[in-house]
C-alpha cells in the first residue's frame, strides 16, 4: 500500500532504527538530538558533498544533493552524490559519504539501498549498485542491491513506520551499543523500570537528609 506524501519519513531514520529502536524514537519522535563531535563532523562532511555543482569526469557526470522519495517505502531523503555511469548506459549509481569506517551491521548499506529504491521509483528503471565512501579510511566500498538487501530495506522501512506511527518510545535495552551512542546522556539507558521506584528513592533520601545535620563536605 503506497504512502501519502505527508507520511514520508526521512531515510536517515533507518540508520537510527537499525542502531537502536529507542534511539530512533528519541530522535524522530521526541525530537531530541545531541550534537556531539561526531555528528558535527558528519554535518561538515555532508555539506561538502552537498555543496558543489554537477561535475563532469571521465567516469561520468555526477549530481550532488538530489532529493529523492519513494511512495512504496514511505521514505524521502537527499542523496550525497549520484554518478551516471557511461559504461553502464548512464545507469545511476548513488554514492554515500560516511565519516567513519565500514561498520559491522547492515545500516549503511540499507540506507544506500533506500536511496536506490527511491531513485528507481522516480526514474522508472532498476539500479544495480552503489558506493559508500568512508572518510576515516578513505575507502570506497561497492554495494550491490541484492534481493536480500532490498528485502532488509523494505522491512526496515515498514518497521520505521510502525515505530513512528505508534507514537511510543520503547524502553531502553542497555547494551554495548550504548557506549558509542550519541544520545546516551539523553536516553539514560539504566533508568528503565529496573532502576526501581523514583518515589521511594526520593522519600528515603529526603528523610535521611532532614534527619541529618546538613551537608558535610
Amino acid at each position: 500500500m503506497p504512502y501519502a506524501e505527508s507520511d514520508l519519513l526521512p531515510i536517515s531514520a533507518l540508520q537510527h532504527l537499525l542502531y537502536c529502536d529507542r534511539q530512533c524514537a528519541l530522535i524522530h519522535l521526541e525530537r531530541l538530538w545531541a550534537e556531539n563531535r561526531f555528528t558535527a563532523e558528519g554535518a561538515i562532511l555532508h555539506r561538502k558533498a552537498h555543496g558543489g555543482r554537477p561535475e563532469s569526469r571521465p567516469s561520468g557526470r555526477t549530481t550532488r544533493a538530489l532529493p529523492v522519495r519513494s511512495f512504496a517505502l514511505g521514505l524521502f531523503g537527499v542523496t550525497d552524490v549520484v554518478r551516471w555511469d557511461p559504461a553502464a548506459g548512464g545507469e545511476a549509481v548513488p554514492v554515500e559519504y560516511k565519516r567513519g569506517r565500514p561498520k559491522k551491521g547492515d545500516c549503511d548499506r540499507v540506507q544506500l539501498c533506500a536511496q536506490a529504491l527511491c531513485l528507481e521509483e522516480m526514474l522508472g528503471r532498476p539500479l544495480g549498485r552503489g558506493e559508500i565512501f568512508y572518510g576515516r579510511v578513505r575507502r570506497r566500498v561497492a554495494v550491490g542491491f541484492t534481493p536480500e538487501l532490498r528485502r532488509a530495506t523494505v522491512e526496515a522501512a515498514a518497521r520505521l513506520h510502525d515505530l513512528i506511527g505508534s507514537g511510543r518510545t520503547p524502553q531502553a535495552v542497555p547494551g554495548r551499543k550504548c557506549d558509542r551512542c550519541s544520545l546516551r546522556d539523553l536516553c539514560l539507558p539504566r533508568l528503565g523500570p529496573a532502576a526501581g521506584s523514583a518515589r521511594r528513592h526520593f522519600d528515603r533520601s529526603l528523610d535521611a537528609l532532614l534527619a541529618g545535620e546538613g551537608p558535610t563536605d
Partner: protein
C-alpha cells in the same frame, strides 16, 4: 546532551554576533573579539543592544543552540529555538497531567519539599562554616534550619496545591529570616543587609544580586525544558499565566538556594562584589553596574563547572548539567518511564 555546557553571555552594548563557517563570531567596533565553534555551545544570551545575524540565528536553531534576548538588566524578551525541540506527544501528556489536580499536587509537594530541604542544607552548611564564638549567627542558622525541617510533615500531608503554596510561603519566611546570618561579619555586612524580598524593583543590594542570579537560573531551566521537549509554560506548582514560564519556575525551585543564594552570599563574603558595584537610585531601586554584572556572570559560569554526584542517577555531573538532568527526569516521569518525579536533593 551537551557535556560542555558553554553559554555565551554578551553584555557589551553594541556587540554584533555573526556566523563564520561553523562558528559564532563576536564583533564590536569593527573588530573581531572572539570566535567560538557552534558545537561547543549550549546557548547564547544577549543582554540589551546586541545584534545577531539571521544566518547565525538559523544555524543556532538548526543545531539546538538556544538564543535568548534579554533587556540590559536581564528581563527576558524573546528566544530563538529551532523546530528540533518540542515533542507534541510529550507535551500533550504534560498538559494532561498538569490538568489532574491530584497529580499536580503530588509533584508540587515533592518540589517544595526539595526546595525546603535544600534551603535548610544551605543554612546548615553556613552554620558549619561559622567561626567559633559567633554564637548569635550560629543560633539563627540552626534555629531557622530546624523550622524548615519542621515544615516537612505538613507538606507531606497537604491535600491541595494552595496548602502547599501556603506552607512554602511560611518556610520561605523562616529561610529569609536567616539571610543576614549568611553574611560573614567581616563582609561589608551593613551594605548587604537583607530588607525582605523585593523584585520589581529590587530595593537592596542582595535582592539586586539574587534577582539577576534567578534570571540566569531561570534561563537555564527554560532552555532545559525546551531541549527535552517539554513546554516551559505549563507547570504543576506554579499556575499558568500567559507569558509565565511556569514549568521552568517549578524546575528552578530545587536550585534557588543551592545554586543562586549560595553563590550570592559567597560572592559577598569573598568580596568578589562590593557595595559600590551597585547603583542606588532616587526612589530606592538598586541596580548592579556593568562590572558587577560581569563578575557575577563569570562566577556563575564557574559554579556551573563544579562537579558533584547526582543523588538519583548516581553519576558524576556538573552543577550546570543538573538542571538538564532534572528536566530529563521530569520528561521521563511525564512519559511514564518513572513512577514519580524525583527533584534534586543537595546532600553536599
Amino acid at each position: 546532551m551537551k557535556t560542555h555546557l558553554n553559554t555565551l553571555y554578551i553584555t557589551t552594548q553594541g556587540t554584533y554576533l555573526g556566523k563564520s563557517g561553523e562558528s559564532v563570531q563576536v564583533r564590536a567596533e569593527g573588530k573581531v573579539l572572539a570566535q567560538l565553534p557552534l558545537h561547543n555551545l549550549e546557548g547564547v544570551v544577549c543582554f540589551g543592544r546586541v545584534g545577531c545575524s539571521p544566518s547565525l540565528l538559523g544555524a543556532c536553531a538548526e543545531r539546538g543552540v538556544s538564543v535568548s534576548l534579554l533587556t540590559q538588566h536581564g528581563r527576558f524578551l524573546a528566544a530563538v529555538r529551532g523546530n528540533t525541540s518540542g515533542n507534541v506527544l510529550l507535551r500533550r501528556q504534560q498538559y494532561r497531567l498538569a490538568d489532574r489536580p491530584e497529580v499536580a499536587l503530588d509533584v508540587a509537594r515533592r518540589i517544595v519539599l526539595a526546595k525546603v530541604a535544600n534551603s535548610r542544607s544551605v543554612l546548615l552548611r553556613a552554620a558549619r562554616d561559622c567561626v567559633a564564638g559567633d554564637a548569635a549567627r550560629l543560633d539563627t542558622l540552626r534555629r531557622e534550619g530546624g523550622r524548615l525541617a519542621a515544615s516537612a510533615p505538613g507538606l507531606r500531608e497537604a491535600t491541595t496545591i494552595d496548602q502547599v503554596r501556603g506552607l512554602e510561603g511560611e518556610a520561605a519566611t523562616h529561610y529569609f529570616g536567616a539571610f543576614d546570618a549568611l553574611l560573614s561579619p567581616s563582609a561589608s555586612a551593613e551594605a548587604f543587609r537583607f530588607t525582605g524580598r523585593s523584585r520589581r524593583p529590587p530595593l537592596d543590594r542582595i535582592n539586586a544580586l539574587l534577582s539577576f542570579l534567578y534570571t540566569l537560573v531561570l534561563h537555564d531551566a527554560r532552555s532545559a525544558c525546551e531541549s527535552v521537549g517539554l513546554d516551559p509554560c505549563v507547570g504543576f506548582l506554579h499556575a499558568d499565566r500567559p507569558g509565565k514560564p511556569a514549568l521552568a519556575l517549578d524546575l528552578m525551585e530545587e536550585f534557588r538556594a543551592f545554586v543562586a543564594d549560595r553563590l550570592a552570599f559567597s560572592l559577598i563574603n569573598r568580596r568578589q562584589v562590593s557595595a559600590d558595584g551597585f547603583e542606588v537610585r532616587e526612589n530606592g531601586a538598586v541596580l548592579m553596574n556593568d562590572a558587577t554584572r560581569k563578575a557575577v556572570l563569570a562566577a556563575y559560569q564557574q559554579r556551573k563547572r563544579e562537579t558533584l554526584a547526582h543523588p538519583f542517577l548516581e553519576e558524576q555531573t556538573t552543577v550546570g548539567m543538573l538542571v538538564h538532568l532534572q528536566a530529563l527526569l521530569l520528561a521521563r516521569w511525564i512519559r511514564g518511564d518513572l513512577d514519580a518525579y524525583p527533584p534534586f536533593l543537595w546532600k553536599g
